[in-house]
Subunit: 389 residues, 2 copies
């Protein structure tokens, strides 16, 4: 999916000088706690690092499941084992009890750490520092094992994308110019449910799947509504998360049922060309801003204007070229003007140039790439073809 | 699903004396921002209340969608409109820019507010107070419109529960005592995917669906694994969220394929009786702890011991009787010993007594109830029947 606005992100920095780390969260809302512990609980638990010790603290309900799932070297504690007599009656919170238990006076926490819990700690004289630059900066550099997980999610999304392509191919066009398959008008809403349902059966969860036709496709985050129509752009941006590994996939294709108008064909070719141009310069040592600039320049050279249209709406290529993908759908690094840093081998990023014009819709094409020393490895294999007969 | 351990929850209190409220979050991770704005964005945005003004701040990508979705009386601002010249270059964060724009010197934020953003505000001399007692305490008191949303989710989960019941009924038992349907062994994993897939097609998202057979069912949060077996308890705890309204449903039934052993039948009857007993005393003015105590006492009277078993594992009825359900799957109020406060009309709570013994498994039965002045309205209609022939 298109990069979100990163209004408060800062750059990663080395955090190795901080001795004690603390996270409170769960596998769904905290990629960091999942990365650190590999415990896949949907209810909040605590992760800590202190003087070489790594551990999680869970309720008695979760204890045995935690033991099965945690990463090697991570110990599992129960809340009750931290509490001294009468602690519960006194309303001592778990984070305070853990700090006393480990005799920690200063914690480093993620920027997303719950403010209320930071207040609890501060009241006890325990200092809390926010790691604005990323709690585990190493998360941006994927191991081959992690890349295999992302590859699995990419395979799944390609399977579903081909299913969508086939449905559009097999559909007929009715007198209203709507796509109809087995006497059912193909709407954005129907296809979203259908495809997301099929993901579930494959062991993946997808939500907010974008299937946006015509002018809906001019807004990158519009998920689409109503019947798909022949001769108009259909942007399909699909991003499932593996229910087993929690790693995301992310992929976008743009289709037209039947013949595409000439201006749409030209825009498609330009976006496809921008993707290829970006892939050529994407490698360890390139800067995120530099790769973005190559795609942006390509689209400008092809004659496509970025700016505001006559109604003051944004038009052209007005989002970043890509974002990191892993345990979060949007993570570092970025391919965007605001990311001048150099990429490193093991980064996994989306490459997704697009063009949007309120008068007719939009084009976006997205593959996932592994940044390697010698270039970029495209994790996708499905071709980029506009027209579906 | 069973209540989670609420190791840091505090009681709701009136917050009306605070003039200015601030939330940063999204519709998926913050029920408060969804409740306040009704904007269903999956990327972070800002919600504020200040001197009678209510508004959200979103990126240009989200602006038009936000205008369509927001609650009446909530204005929509773009980040860029808050920024003064050079603010972006200076790294001024959106929360700081908003505070300057509105001239706010003190914010009340939810306990879950990101600590890193609180630090940004404090550095600018803006004070931040955490609302530990719930940011919108009124969220616990549902309107009839909200109750209709929850009712819709309950209907959906009953449909899926009946589908599961039918699959167990139609299954045959093979020589290994496994349930087999259409030549497929019915495993927890297969059924979870199948049912969750069917939810998606209905416009609901369900994850972590519990279908736990035999000893797996002795741990309330164990989602289950492997083949379902005849003659053993099958606990099905299913909690979908409506993709349209974001309100949750939550329901549990316990089945046995074929004949249930006598000790299981007795435990089932006790849990069913405990549910009925709790429903009889559940009304506005009852305390959460009091309703829990009625169910706990019923189970004790029926001869079921709660405590630790010979291996020091928890046994009997060792979780709270229920939890509030709404835009969060676990919210206030609670039916548990740690919630002495009185319930009020409009609360929606689960009523889910259970019994768990590591030697054979568990029983849990869960309906959702609306607390009314004169009693409790059971939102469920599906009967509680143990044996499926």
């Amino acid at each position: 999916m298109p990069p979100k606005s990163d209004f408060s992100s800062k750059n990663a920095k080395s955090l190795s000088t901080f001795p004690s780390k603390l996270i409170i969260g769960n596998a769904v809302n905290s990629a960091d706690i999942l990365y650190g512990s590999r415990f896949r609980a949907e209810d909040d638990f605590i992760y800590f690092e202190h003087e070489g010790r790594k551990g999680i603290v869970v309720s008695s309900l979760e204890y045995s499941r935690a033991l099965e799932q945690v990463k090697k070297g991570v110990e599992v504690l129960e809340y009750s084992s931290l509490m001294r007599k009468n602690d519960l009656a006194k309303g001592i919170s778990a984070e305070v009890a853990l700090s006393r238990f480990l005799q920690v006076k200063e914690w480093l926490v993620p920027a997303s750490f719950p403010f209320g819990k930071a207040v609890n700690l501060c009241k006890e004289g325990i200092s809390v520092q926010s790691a604005d630059g990323g709690f585990f900066p190493e998360r941006e550099v994927k191991t081959e094992e992690e890349i295999a997980c992302i590859r699995k999610s990419v395979h799944a999304v390609e399977e579903i994308m081909k299913e969508l392509q086939n449905m559009i191919r097999e559909a007929r066009v009715n007198s209203q110019n709507y796509l109809v398959l087995a006497d059912k008008v193909l709407t954005s809403e129907y296809l979203r449910r259908e495809l997301e349902s099929n993901f579930k059966r494959m062991g993946f969860t997808a939500n907010h799947t974008i299937i946006a036709c015509g002018k809906d496709a001019a807004a990158p985050h519009n998920t689409g509504h109503g019947p798909l129509r022949a001769g108009e752009t259909i942007v399909a941006d699909i991003f499932p998360r593996d229910d087993e590994t929690f790693y995301w996939g992310d992929m976008t294709r743009t289709f037209v049922k039947g013949k595409a108008p000439l201006h749409v064909k030209k825009a498609f070719d330009a976006v496809k060309g921008a993707s290829l141009a970006a892939f050529k310069v994407l490698r360890a040592g390139s800067s995120g801003a530099g790769v973005h600039a190559v795609a942006a320049e390509y689209l400008k050279e092809a004659g496509f204007v970025t700016g505001k249209d006559e109604n003051n709406l944004p038009c052209g290529f007005f989002h970043g070229l890509g974002h990191g993908v892993g345990l979060e759908i949007h993570e570092g690094p970025r391919l965007s003007p605001s990311y001048p840093q150099k990429l490193v081998a093991g980064n996994v990023v989306s490459v997704e140039p697009g063009l949007y014009y309120a008068s007719w819709g939009g084009i976006r094409l997205e593959d996932l790439a592994v940044v390697r020393e010698e270039g970029a490895e495209d994790l996708n294999t499905m071709e980029m073809e506009l027209e579906i007969p």
